[in-house]
Symmetry: C2
Subunit: 101 residues, 2 copies
Amino acid sequence: MRELPHPKTEELDLPRVLHALSDPARLDMVRRLAQEGELTCGALGVDRPKSSMSHHFRTLRDAGVIRTCVDGTVHLNHLRKEDLERRFPGLLKVVLDAPET
Amino acid sequence: MRELPHPKTEELDLPRVLHALSDPARLDMVRRLAQEGELTCGALGVDRPKSSMSHHFRTLRDAGVIRTCVDGTVHLNHLRKEDLERRFPGLLKVVLDAPET
DNA sequence: GAGTTAGTTCGATAAAATACGAACAATAGA
DNA sequence: TCTATTGTTCGTATTTTATCGAACTAACTC
């Protein structure tokens, strides 16, 4: 099961992570991943075209927020909870607990 | 002592706050405000022109991260610690404790 | 091998953010 | 009132981001 390139835990950069999380669409994606666990790209992007979703997945992946594993034709995404917790303790909880608007 | 317009605590929007914090220059400003308390604009912007600093202050202010009071010709800025804590518990601590890079 | 499915990459466009000089406003002090 | 100080606002140039169709790739299925 192949894996796309991801930054290492020690390389996670706060401004970059915050920027990845500062987009409402991506924040929704992160919340759904937190609730429902591992999800395919298709499962998350209902109303948006594939290319737009792919862009957002890439932004989250490059920032180190999610990890993507390729299983056949399917790309499985999951939150890098432990890595984020090690690098920025409490961040994910704060973001997930925050009021939606 | 006049005060510039600021969003109310209940109006603070997470994506907007995260975006305000996602710029390295602004993150530095926030860290310095956390360490040194109330600061004037001039005290924070050494290497950047005034107009650039003013832009960053405005971004932080509009997001609700800082509050600006006008005292004579001086603008005093301070972190909205309590407001941020009420709206997004733990956020500020996470950001301030995070490794610099 | 042909077709299908899942998602990436490319290319173009539009919207937003950054940067900064110059002009401006408000206040303090001589 | 004249001048200096502090910071905002304006105008513009540059960069970054978002959006999305179209072409492409990889893997599975028949």
